[in-house]
């Protein structure tokens, strides 16, 4: 705790304890409690013996209790900070010397509030440390009150009550004075017994909310507590839990699944725990399709699990897709998905019940499989071909082109036609499936369905975006001819068909579509810019020309994407065909992008331009390499005037790249990294510094150092520190030239602060700038900048001052109130 806060706290305690004093609003009280929690948790060695927080806390509880009463709902704050009970031991022990108002041992009362929390907060020192379980207010109705709060209309309160119950249970189960855990078969502590009875009773209740509460308490318990006693708890309660499966419908199925998975994940339970797996197996066959999927997925993600159960879970997960495939397949397809998946009437019913249930089930299934696919513990063998076929079928059902083989298929066709939600999920999964290998025929089908999707006028912008993403993944994962830079056999033909579609999409009236198409083009050219097939197909199309025209798009996002795309194409010499008639188009893109950086009214395109220029400089793009200093000087000059801080920050990034290329790359700060031999700078330091001065880098960096936007100043600080480190070894510079004349640089400092350019670039003396660099406390500046701009307002000291000021202000102006 800060000494300043420690000084303010007694006065605040006095204000809070004094009933005549008006109190601040409850938000302040909540913040105060949060701070108490932080202090007591993290600062246990703070000598609180000299400072008694307890009356203050008690007052806060009282105030919150009043607040709760006035609102008619229990305040959530006292409940969500149950951890306060634990640190009190330290604190109360320290406070033992000071008498507590109202007596140390406040008796338990029926209602929650300060009286209830009193035993937890104000227990005399020594007792609670030795036997915490005995201190819990078992005999009172306090636990009953927590039980009742579980059903509170506020979800926050209800959730906090359940969590508190888990805390109380865990605390009571901590065992005797020696800290030994309770024996599994032994007597349960009275408090734990009460809670167990309540949970058992709730599990047997006919009211679903009660069952949900009980299951949530158990889920939290098994999730947080991994002591041996939790096994005894499961042994006791598992029959009751299993009984839930006998009810129709199964109550609180979602919570039920959560509990089973939580128990299964707990390290306390060995994988051979028969009762658990039996219950899971039963659940997999009893639960509805909505809940079976998450359970199956959870099982398949477990590290240790019986193989038979994994097989069953995988079949459950595949069931909806198997139904789809079965309903549409004209002839027996490849083995895999249909094997071992008997027709599940419930799944079929769900698929046929309504459009929303069908779409929901398929979307969940596809999302689960997408989540499972990249995991190492995914089932093996993975039915890649069947999944690919099923996903293509789902997409064909969505676009209405699937041919149903049965009445179920016909129904599915009608249900899924035009269903954008399923289309998006299927495209996501199809993209994921690109990571596996599949038969050539199915790959062809996948690419064909993607092309149709991209081409279809009915595809919505979001579907098109997903289709572009999936297509990109398939293209980038397609096998290449070994030892050859060309693409595989399928791809050239696909590209020839793709680019006309891409052209059309680049002209789409919906800006989202144009944007997605440009992003796709950028990514594709980034990865395939060197592939002859790709270059050939791209340059034969009008795509580069259309992308160039989109630099003038009215939508700023599209302009930004066009800038990025053209920057990428230009880097690889793809921004225009090489034929003579396109000579004009092949001219440098630099002036056009610089124009955008200078005049575009929106920030996104300007940021994109800066990123492109940085990339160009880094990669040695012809426009940048032709006259690097001129390039950097021009860009920095424009960027320094930009009102967008991200543009200025990107300008610093560009400056850093330039520094690296002039003085050598920055040294790694990782202590374990292999130290590379110092690369000699490309040119002597003096010349290098003069070049830096010439491009106006110092002006730009020093102005940025005093930038009103913190990230810019931070980045500039880092850049200058890097520069200072780089030149540190060149101490001979000063000696060789004599004493530096820092007067001119110091004179320009106020102008930098004002954000003005000091002198024309090139007029600065490198030595003077270096001296200025050495004289600045850059480390101190960096640490200052590291603090957020509102750190003062957010500090506890500010909070305490505000609360005191509120009280003081009201007191002082009492006479003026009329």
């Amino acid at each position: 705790m800060d000494p300043e806060c420690a000084q303010l706290l007694p006065a605040l305690c006095a204000v809070l304890v004094d009933p005549r004093q008006p109190v601040a609003d409850d938000t302040c009280l909540e913040k105060l409690l949060d701070w108490f929690k932080t202090v007591t948790e993290g600062d246990i060695f703070f000598p609180v013996g000299s400072l008694n927080l307890t009356p203050c806390k008690k007052k806060v509880w009282e105030l919150l209790g009043e607040e709760r009463s006035s609102r008619g709902t229990p305040g959530a704050v006292p409940l969500v900070t149950p951890g306060l009970g634990r640190p009190h031991r330290v604190q109360c022990r320290a406070a033992a010397g000071a008498p507590l108002p109202g007596g140390a041992a406040v008796p338990c009362a029926e209602s929650p509030g300060p009286e209830f929390w009193g035993p937890l907060l104000l227990t005399p020192p020594g007792r609670n440390l030795r036997s915490p379980g005995k201190l819990l207010p078992v005999s009172s109705g306090a636990v009953d009150t927590i039980f009742s709060l579980q059903g509170d209309s506020s979800l926050f309160v209800a959730s906090a009550a359940s969590q508190l119950l888990v805390h109380v249970l865990a605390l009571s189960m901590q065992g005797g004075a020696e800290g030994q855990p309770c024996l599994p078969g032994g007597d349960w502590p009275a408090c734990a017994q009460r809670i167990m009875d309540h949970v058992e009773e709730s599990l047997c209740s006919a009211a679903t909310p009660k069952v949900t509460q009980a299951l949530n308490v158990l889920t939290t318990t098994f999730g947080r507590c991994q002591s041996p006693w939790t096994e005894a708890l499961w042994v006791r309660l598992s029959p009751r839990v299993a009984c839930l499966l006998e009810r129709d419908p199964i109550p609180a199925a979602h919570s039920f699944v959560d509990l089973l998975l939580c128990v299964a994940r707990s390290p306390v339970f060995s994988s051979s725990d028969g009762s658990l797996w039996e219950t899971v197996v039963r659940a997999l066959s009893c639960l509805g399709p909505t809940h079976m999927g998450p359970l199956a997925l959870g099982i398949l993600k477990l590290e240790h699990c019986p193989q038979a159960l994994r097989t069953q879970a995988f079949q459950v997960l595949l069931q909806p897709l198997a139904c789809v495939l079965k309903a549409t397949v004209q002839a027996p397809g490849p083995p895999g998905l249909l094997d071992g998946t008997a027709d599940d009437a419930t799944t079929v019913d769900t698929l046929l019940a309504s459009k929303s249930s069908c779409a929901g089930l398929l979307c969940r299934t596809l999302a689960h499989l997408e989540e499972l696919q990249p995991l190492p513990q995914r089932p093996s063998p993975w039915p890649q071909a069947s999944l690919l076929g099923a996903t293509v079928t789902v997409l064909r059902l969505c676009d209405g082109s699937a041919a149903p083989a049965s009445s179920v298929g016909g129904h599915l066709c009608g249900t899924l036609a035009g269903c954008v939600r399923v289309q998006r999920a299927a495209l996501d999964f199809l993209g994921t499936l690109s990571q596996g290998t599949g038969p050539q025929e199915l790959v062809t089908q996948a690419l064909a369905v993607l092309l149709e999707c991209l081409e279809s006028p009915g595809s919505s912008p979001t579907v098109l975006k997903k289709a572009f993403q999936a297509t990109l993944r398939w293209l980038l994962s397609s096998p290449k001819t070994p030892g050859c830079s060309d693409l595989g056999p399928l791809i050239p033909q696909f590209l020839r068909e793709l680019f006309p579609v891409l052209q059309k999409r680049l002209c789409h009236p919906c800006w989202e579509v144009r944007d997605s198409a440009l992003e796709f083009l950028t990514q594709l050219s980034r990865h395939w810019g060197g592939q002859a097939d790709f270059r050939c197909a791209l340059l034969a199309s009008e795509v580069p020309e259309l992308a160039l025209q989109l630099l003038q798009d009215p939508e700023s996002y599209v302009r930004a994407s066009a800038v990025t795309a053209m920057g990428q194409l230009s880097s690889q010499g793809l921004h225009a065909p090489t034929s003579p008639e396109h000579a004009e188009a092949r001219q440098s893109l630099f002036p056009e992008l610089l124009h955008i950086l200078s005049v575009d009214s929106e920030g996104f395109p300007r940021r994109a331009v800066m990123q492109v220029f940085t990339e160009w400089l880094r990669d040695g793009h012809a426009d940048a390499a032709r006259d690097m200093e001129q390039f950097v000087a021009t860009v920095l000059q424009v960027a320094s005037r930009d009102l967008d801080w991200e543009v200025r920050a990107q300008g610093l990034e560009l400056a850093l790249v330039f520094l690296g290329q002039t003085l050598g790359p920055p040294r790694t700060h990782c202590p374990y990294a292999v130290a590379l031999p110092e690369v000699a700078p490309a040119q002597p330091l003096t010349e290098a510094l003069r070049a830096l001065c010439h491009v106006g880098l110092f002006d730009f960096a020093f102005c940025a150092l005093f930038d009103c936007d913190r990230p810019v100043a931070q980045k500039s600080c880092d850049l200058l520190l890097f520069l200072r480190d780089k030149i540190a070894s060149y101490s001979s510079l000063r000696e060789a030239r004599g004493g530096p004349n820092t007067a001119s640089a110091e004179a320009t400092l106020p102008r930098w602060r004002a954000g003005e350019q000091a002198q024309p670039p090139g007029d600065q003396e490198p030595e003077a700038v270096l001296a200025m660099l050495r004289s600045l406390d850059l480390e101190g500046l960096r640490s200052t900048l590291a603090e957020s701009s509102d750190h003062v307002e957010k500090s506890p000291q500010s909070l305490l001052q505000d609360m005191l000021a509120t009280g003081g202000f009201l007191q002082g102006d009492e006479a003026d109130c009329y």
Partner: protein
């Protein structure tokens, strides 16, 4: 009566409460595809076409035009039609046929805006055909005089205006959201309601939104005019239209859009207004060539009450509701009555031309097809779904220009219909049979049909369908003085009855109960009785009886009055009391009592009085 086999060009006749109402009179123009195009100048290529056959074996004709068969003329005498209700501008094309040559004497009721369009459309719709030689039947039907004559019979109505038809039914137009002035109709009596939904749209375009609420509580909902392209999303098609237009123009090509002079073109122009700048096509001219181009563009700006809310708001600012006004002001959109005259001077390429007719058989579009068809740089984009674009293009083959089919049909699709029916919940739905089964080409698409409960009743061309409701009640008004004279008597708690003696006066399908005339006074003068006073004298009315006769008590009463040897038999309908001694039968049934005795009137009267004691009289 269904008189049209085309579900989007309906022509039905509804007989309802002594009125005969024709619902729309669309004219199926697809048979024009059987003709060769009518070029502006003689085309050797077209005139020398060999015996070209379409897929179905039809040959192109150049001599005879077959007027769409008017089967309703055989089925019904059109003179019996009391009124024709028009739903939108596309569904009155057959009006001159109905009004001129069939003895039609009644009124037609289109929307205000439609009327204006009709007058202007008479210049356009079948214009080339009208002027063509040797198309005698067509010429007779569609002379300017006949069109004007048909239009003169039109009565203009506004949305939600209630119109009485002969006092029997009330018809009310409701906005259908499809086009300017398009409407659905409610035809209702006091106790029955028939809704006629034809060509409606739930999309947010330029017209006033569809009024769904007023369609609730319908006994029967007749549903026609759904989208012809249920699988094509209009938004996607507009995107496709713009993309292809931009690609063509950027490459120096021209774009030809065969279209009608109103309807979707307003939305296309609005879309292009936003798009051309973003696509860098501001310098590309848009030409709208039609005899009614000017009036179409101008009328659309002044009919504020038919517009959607946003556009209505603009009118009151005042600003032009449609952005094509700005396109015209900035010379980006130019309109011409034909390709002659100013257009020839202004024409520059590349450009976008909107012109008719979508069938590519007549109108200025024929000229542009001939002009631009040879270059692969040009593109023809079909946006109207009424004609098969492949058949439309057939006489122009081989064609180098690109052809894009982007049918834009904003009318209801089946998903929207399903939602609409759930919202409106009519007791019965009646629709063309095409809507009750998937399209033949997509027989597996069960979603492309109407799915409702109870299943929709379907009709087909030349079929008569009895609507599934029976009229049970009729509203009769009662004069206040007559009402004052009634003395209701409560026969059950909450139910009171009173006998009414009155004269039922029926005029113009309205019924009125008037007090009965007073008994005739002895005539003292020599005046002759007026005819109106010659009302038949009312007989003295016997009271009405109600209640039931308890058999046991009745028998006891008979015994008290000296009857003996009484036997009671139960029958299926009641009881028979047999007075053996008097040789008399008394049949007591639920709604009648008969006393059968042999010519003993005294005995009958005596027994009758005993029976009456057990009944209430009023």
């Amino acid at each position: 009566y269904c008189l049209s086999g085309h579900p989007t060009l309906p022509c039905n006749v509804l007989k309802f409460k002594s009125t005969t109402i024709m619902l729309d009179c669309g004219l199926d123009m697809t048979s024009t595809l059987n003709f060769l195009p009518l070029p502006l100048v003689q085309s050797p290529r077209l005139s020398n076409l060999p015996g070209w056959s379409l897929k179905d074996g039809n040959a192109f004709l150049d001599k005879i035009y077959i007027i769409p068969s008017l089967s309703f003329r055989r089925a019904n005498n059109l003179s019996t039609v009391d009124v024709i209700l028009i739903s939108n501008y596309a569904l009155y094309d057959a009006l001159p046929i109905h009004t001129r040559h069939t003895g039609f004497t009644a009124q037609c009721m289109p929307r205000n805006h439609q009327c204006q369009k009709a007058q202007s459309a008479s210049l356009l719709l079948p214009s080339p055909l009208k002027d063509a030689v040797e198309v005698s039947t067509w010429r007779r039907c569609y002379t300017m005089q006949e069109v004007n004559s048909a239009l003169s019979k039109i009565q203009l109505v506004g949305y939600s205006q209630k119109i009485e038809l002969f006092g029997a039914v009330q018809v009310t137009p409701l906005s259908s959201g499809y086009a300017l002035g398009s409407s659905n109709w409610i035809i209702q009596s006091h106790y029955e309601k028939v809704s006629y939904v034809s060509g409606s749209s739930l999309l947010t375009t330029h017209p006033q939104p569809m009024d769904q609420a007023s369609l609730k509580n319908s006994d029967v909902l007749v549903l026609t005019g759904l989208t012809q392209i249920p699988t094509a999303n209009p938004d996607g098609m507009v995107g496709e239209f713009c993309s292809n237009l931009a690609l063509t123009v950027r490459n120096g090509g021209n774009v030809l859009v065969p279209c009608y002079p109103s309807g979707v073109i307003y939305d296309l122009l609005e879309c292009l207004y936003q798009y051309i700048d973003s696509a860098g096509l501001s310098s590309v001219p848009l030409y709208f060539i039609s005899p009614v181009a000017n009036s179409s563009l101008e009328f659309s700006q002044i009919f504020a009450e038919w517009l959607c809310h946003n556009k209505q708001s603009k009118v009151y600012l005042p600003e032009p509701p449609f952005p094509h006004a700005e396109l015209i002001q900035t010379n980006k959109l130019k309109h011409y009555p034909s390709i002659h005259g100013d257009f020839s001077n202004d024409f520059r390429q590349p450009c976008v031309v909107f012109t008719g007719h979508p069938s590519l058989r007549f109108g200025d579009v024929v000229h542009f097809m001939e002009l631009w068809g040879k270059s692969s740089l040009n593109t023809v984009i079909f946006t109207e779904p009424d004609f098969s674009y492949l058949e439309a293009l057939a006489p122009y083959q081989p064609l180098a220009m690109k052809c894009i089919y982007c049918p834009i049909d904003t009318r209801l699709n089946f998903i929207q219909v399903s939602k609409l029916l759930k919202e409106v919940q009519p007791l019965h739905v009646v629709c063309p049979e095409q809507y009750t089964q998937p399209p033949p080409a997509q027989s597996h698409r069960m979603d492309l049909m109407i799915d409702c409960q109870p299943p929709a009743m379907s009709y087909r061309r030349a079929e008569v369908l009895a609507l599934p409701f029976k009229r049970r009640y009729e509203k009769i008004e009662i004069m206040p003085e007559l009402a004052d004279s009634l003395v209701p008597m409560e026969i059950k708690p909450g139910i009171s009855l009173a006998t009414v003696s009155a004269v039922l006066h029926t005029k113009d399908n309205k019924h009125l109960l008037q007090p009965p005339p007073r008994p005739a006074q002895p005539t003292s003068g020599k005046k002759r009785k007026r005819v109106s006073d010659d009302v038949p004298d009312c007989k003295v009315l016997k009271p009405l009886l109600s209640g039931s006769i308890p058999v046991e008590q009745f028998v006891q009463t008979l015994e008290k009055h000296g009857f003996s040897d009484i036997k009671v038999e139960d029958t299926a309908k009641g009881h028979i009391v047999l007075l053996q001694e008097a040789e008399t039968l008394i049949q007591i049934e639920e709604d009648s009592t008969h006393i059968i005795c042999d010519n003993d009137e005294m005995l009958r009267v005596r027994l009758r009085d005993l029976v009456l004691k057990f009944l209430q009289k009023f």
